[in-house]
């Protein structure tokens, strides 16, 4: 049974990692805790759902549609909410509060118009066969989740390390003023980072929507707890840390549910969040950073 648990944990963990990746990218480059991030997750899932229902799209169309839509929403949200604060060089708390207010408004609007009932993808949206290796069962959905996560993570690394846009993003992460002086179009780079992270969040929304097959407006809110835990455990802004911490959290949750109790599972994320803050506040892989006044 342990091997089956490990597979399930790995699948869950990779969705957490994917979700947290976009969140940590925003913090690492733009230096804001953007709480509207959870909303992109819901947007991705709902756009994919609408595509599947209204257009009869299959997963290969619905997944990119959801991701791109979430990316666009992210660009608009960032532009509306944070441009002004960025220009005024306001602190992290101000941006945290703006996005907090905005995300409540957005979820509530969505709930008013769509309703809070749990919705599901149409039957047969993804075929529900499974591969069996000995006594371990891996469903098509699970393969799809792990595969998509691997591909997206690989693409992100290539983009950041090998392309000109990646160079711009890394320069911005290093120092905004210096980047601007070097002739980097900061506004464009910020939009690109928002789009990328929105896409990651949206894709995670579609995949987790598929995994649990339950979609409703506030789903992103519940996911944010995992997002916080993962980025704090991995170190704020640390991409590799987010990947490892995401998988770790997924595994721990599944093992807790399997061997202790399914109720205890929900407390796992918070417990390791507090323990990390207590014993190793820079995160598992973070380095101590000089405090900026």
């Amino acid at each position: 049974m342990l091997s089956q648990q490990l597979v399930n944990g790995l699948v869950l963990g990779s969705t957490y990692a994917l979700f947290a990746l976009g969140f940590t990218l925003i913090f690492g480059v733009l230096r804001v805790i953007n709480l509207t991030y959870g909303f992109y997750f819901s947007v991705g899932a709902f756009v994919a759902l609408a595509a599947a229902r209204e257009l009869g799209a299959n997963i290969w169309v619905a997944l990119p549609l959801g991701a791109v839509a979430a990316g666009l929403v992210a660009v608009v949200a960032d532009w509306l909410l944070l441009t002004r604060l960025r220009r005024a060089k306001a602190g992290e708390l101000a941006s945290l509060m703006v996005t907090l207010g905005a995300v409540l408004a957005l979820y509530s609007l969505m709930a008013v118009f769509i309703g809070t009932d749990i919705q599901r993808f149409p039957f047969g949206f993804v075929d529900n066969s499974a591969l069996e290796f000995g006594d371990v069962r891996i469903s098509t959905v699970q393969i799809l989740i792990i595969g998509t996560t691997l591909v997206l993570v690989a693409l992100l690394f290539v983009l950041l390390q090998r392309t000109r846009l990646g160079l711009m993003i890394r320069a911005l992460a290093e120092n905004e003023d210096a980047a601007r002086l070097m002739g980097i179009n900061v506004g464009l780079t910020v939009a690109a980072v928002s789009f990328l992270s929105g896409m990651l969040g949206g894709a995670a929304g579609v995949l987790i929507g598929l995994n649990f097959n339950a979609i409703q407006p506030f789903m992103g809110e519940h996911m944010m707890l995992r997002g916080f835990a993962v980025i704090i455990i991995g170190g704020l802004g640390d991409i590799r840390g987010a990947l490892i911490a995401g998988v770790l959290l997924g595994l721990l949750e599944v093992l807790t549910a399997g061997y202790i109790s399914s109720n205890a599972r929900e407390a796992v994320a918070f417990t390791i969040l507090v323990l990390t803050l207590w014993f190793r506040p820079v995160g598992l892989f973070g380095r101590a950073q000089a405090k900026r006044a």
């Binding site: 101000a94 509060m97 207010g101 409540l104 408004a105 707890l225 918070f270 507090v274 803050l277």
Partner: protein, 280 residues
């Protein structure tokens, strides 16, 4: 009591209770923001107070004068555990861990069915939170904060809000003030929770989540934190508004959220570095 007043109180009893309780919540938010911190756990602390109060009354049958202080103590203990490590770090960590606290507690309330009634919540809580008690506590809170604001402690808090590094250099014991503020604010929120439980006679797991946390923040931001009275007024406006304008009711949370956005964006230096206006 004149008849019209009696009628008025009868019709609007819930609203009048809510106005006072939300005033207390706004004060508890003010208390953390006054030292330049952001806690999003006020709703969670309120929930702890509400559940503690309700359970002590329902399961143990303790008298209300004992239940009320105990339900302020319970969230204070949690604040100590959460705040201890996180306050040593920058404010973002406190904000994140307090949001997370709210989420976890909601799940706990739902899952600990034997104790908390699960998703159905607890009902049949005796109505013991009298109107005078709520408003007396609110008055004490406002006067207390006003007096602290004019003392040496108040000046230290103001210094912290304006520039933490400088305040630290000038000898302000930053961790002690931050933790103290968080604990006092959690106690106020706990009181508010206990009063809510004993005036609505019902509490449920979803009342103390993310929405409530943001709503409490919007109280403080609408009023501003210039004086302790300001957030209380903010709370009263935001509580009364949906009652007065019925069509707004569906959009109540949307409005609360937008108020925060507007308040933070269009106040030049953000909201945390608000300046306390010195009394003339």
């Amino acid at each position: 009591m004149p008849v019209w007043l009696d009628d008025f109180l009868f019709t609007y009893e819930t609203l009048i209770h809510a106005l006072g309780v939300h005033g207390l919540l706004a004060l508890s938010m003010y208390c953390v923001m006054a030292v330049g911190q952001l806690s999003l756990g006020q709703a969670a602390f309120m929930g702890i107070g509400a559940y503690t109060g309700a359970l002590l009354t329902l399961k143990l049958g303790l008298p209300f004068w004992l239940v009320l202080p105990l339900s302020a103590l319970a969230p204070a203990l949690v604040a100590l555990v959460i705040g201890g490590p996180t306050l040593r770090l920058s404010g973002v960590y406190l904000a994140i861990s307090t949001i997370a606290l709210g989420e976890v507690l909601r799940v706990l309330y739902i899952n600990a069915e034997g104790l908390t009634g699960g998703a159905l919540g607890l009902s049949g809580i005796p109505r013991k939170a009298d109107l005078w008690l709520i408003y007396l506590l609110l008055l004490l809170g406002v006067v207390g904060f006003w007096m602290v604001g004019r003392s040496k402690i108040g000046r230290a808090m103001e210094a912290m809000r304006e520039d933490e590094a400088v305040a630290g250099v000038m000898g302000v014991n930053l961790p002690r003030y931050k933790l103290g503020a968080l604990i006092v604010s959690s106690m106020l929120a706990g009181l508010a929770g206990c009063l809510t439980a004993h005036s609505n006679s019902f509490i449920g797991p979803n009342e103390f989540g993310f929405e409530m946390a943001v709503t409490i923040l919007s109280f403080a931001l609408l009023g501003g934190i210039g004086t302790p009275v300001a957030p209380v007024i903010g709370a009263m406006i935001l509580t009364a508004l949906p009652e007065v304008l019925r069509p707004l009711q569906d959009f109540r949370l949307v409005i609360n959220g937008l108020i925060i956005v507007v308040a933070v964006l269009f106040l030049p230096r953000g909201v945390i570095p608000f300046r306390l206006r010195r009394a003339p």
